[in-house]
Symmetry: C2
Subunit: 233 residues, 2 copies
DNA sequence: ATATAAATATGCTTAAAAACATACAAATGT
DNA sequence: ACATTTGTATGTTTTTAAGCATATTTATAT
């Protein structure tokens, strides 16, 4: 991880921050009640059942959000990227976390304390509506996934996951290598299949020249075909 | 359907309405810009791709919200009941509808025009936060369902659906008959299975004395066992 | 009242994916 | 440097649920 000072500034003044429009007065309040944390790859940020203490903003790194299902089987429901929120659903639903968050890479976050947040939201309806829009988009995403994961076949689900990872994290400078390095097990948890089937189907895609595999590095050769496989089911 | 005058009063002053705390001035604005509609069983309120014009509140009846998946296969993602909102996700995400809404029974709705709604929300952050909480709960529900529908076996999925219908619509006066009458096809779309398998598995539950079937009427005899089947997967 | 269509029911076959088994490679800790 | 664990790969078997076929019952339309 590039060592970046974990600072509330990175959280509230970044171009993608929903808080950048706040008054200096309000920003001061935010900066006085925030906390910051760093995590190593594999570390837990929160787990199912924990009580949210504030709004977590991911500053650096990559995080998977997943639920434990039947027999402890993991289902990844979301992947977070820098300057996105983590665990905000539970916070706004006033519930305990219904999912766990684990870092895929070394990561840093800042946390805006719950009461301060709601005080500021009460005074700034446009920010509240903005966060509401984020949540509405995520609900649409979740509904889409429910249908994809239940109706598409293994190849379709895996193709969709690869396209999703591309959309979320983008490509390396070569414009062909996915800018995220997941274990086969995580790819499986994302795509609702067993690890064996993830490995098998990745191999199949590779031998069809749709992708190329080099350890955890995935190169996408034929994105059109991947889209067709995903559409087809 | 019991003939009830479709009136904005039923929408904004009902005990479950998020708008009941508004000032008389604001209520007046709402009532001047609302519209009301009635639908017969089977009729469409909106369909995937339509543009939302306002916030729809269901006054009477029952509505299924579903998406078309692979090969037109239907997946019910939500069931609405009186005094709940319909289609609010698309409205707040500023997207076209990603799902369709069809009445399961004769229904009536009132619609609060979009611009009026947002004007009022900007002035009433506690209502916005309230709606946000609703949406956060629904997102939690959607995530849960993603896991259930993908990981549970047919019996577990059907059991979960029956319990969900009980929680959503409750029981008839006898306290044993589900207060909703769905086709086997709709039960299948709700539970992510083929109609054949829904029929087969309902029959199995009936012969195990967990439920009793009488046409579309479903009596739940052994709710504990149903819960066990649902938990088990 | 009768024809037609739609919904329900059940058996049989096939396809898809999980489960299991085993081998091998890579990473990690001592 | 070596042992141990974890992750990747691939073949085989078994289970699950879809797909298909065909009655039978119930609604709906004429």
């Amino acid at each position: 991880m590039t060592p970046v000072a974990v600072n509330i500034e990175n959280c509230i003044n970044h171009k993608n921050s929903v808080f950048k429009s706040l008054s200096n007065e309000e920003k001061k309040i935010l900066s006085e009640t925030h906390s910051a944390h760093t995590y190593k790859k594999g570390e837990l940020i929160f787990k199912e059942g924990d009580k949210p203490t504030g709004l977590i903003s991911l500053l650096e790194g990559k995080v998977k959000i997943f639920k434990e299902g039947v027999g402890g089987r993991e289902q990844i429901i979301r992947m977070a990227k820098p300057h996105g929120f983590i665990g905000y659903r539970a916070l706004f639903a006033d519930e305990n976390y219904a999912a766990s968050a684990v870092c895929i890479e070394d990561s840093s976050v800042c946390v805006i304390e719950k009461n301060t947040l709601f005080k500021i939201l009460k005074e700034n309806s446009s920010i509240t509506l903005h966060i509401m829009k984020l949540m509405a988009s995520e609900l649409g995403f979740s509904n889409n996934r429910t249908v994809s994961l239940t109706q598409k076949h293994i190849r379709g689900r895996l193709a969709e996951s690869l396209l999703f990872l591309k959309d979320t994290y983008g490509m390396e400078e070569d414009n062909i290598t996915l800018k995220i390095y997941l274990s086969r097990e995580d790819i499986a948890s994302l795509s609702n299949m067993t690890t064996s089937n993830a490995i098998r189907t990745l191999s199949a895609f590779a031998s069809e020249k749709v992708i190329a595999l080099d350890g955890r590095k995935i190169k996408i050769y034929d994105i059109k075909k991947l889209e067709r496989i995903s559409e087809l089911g």
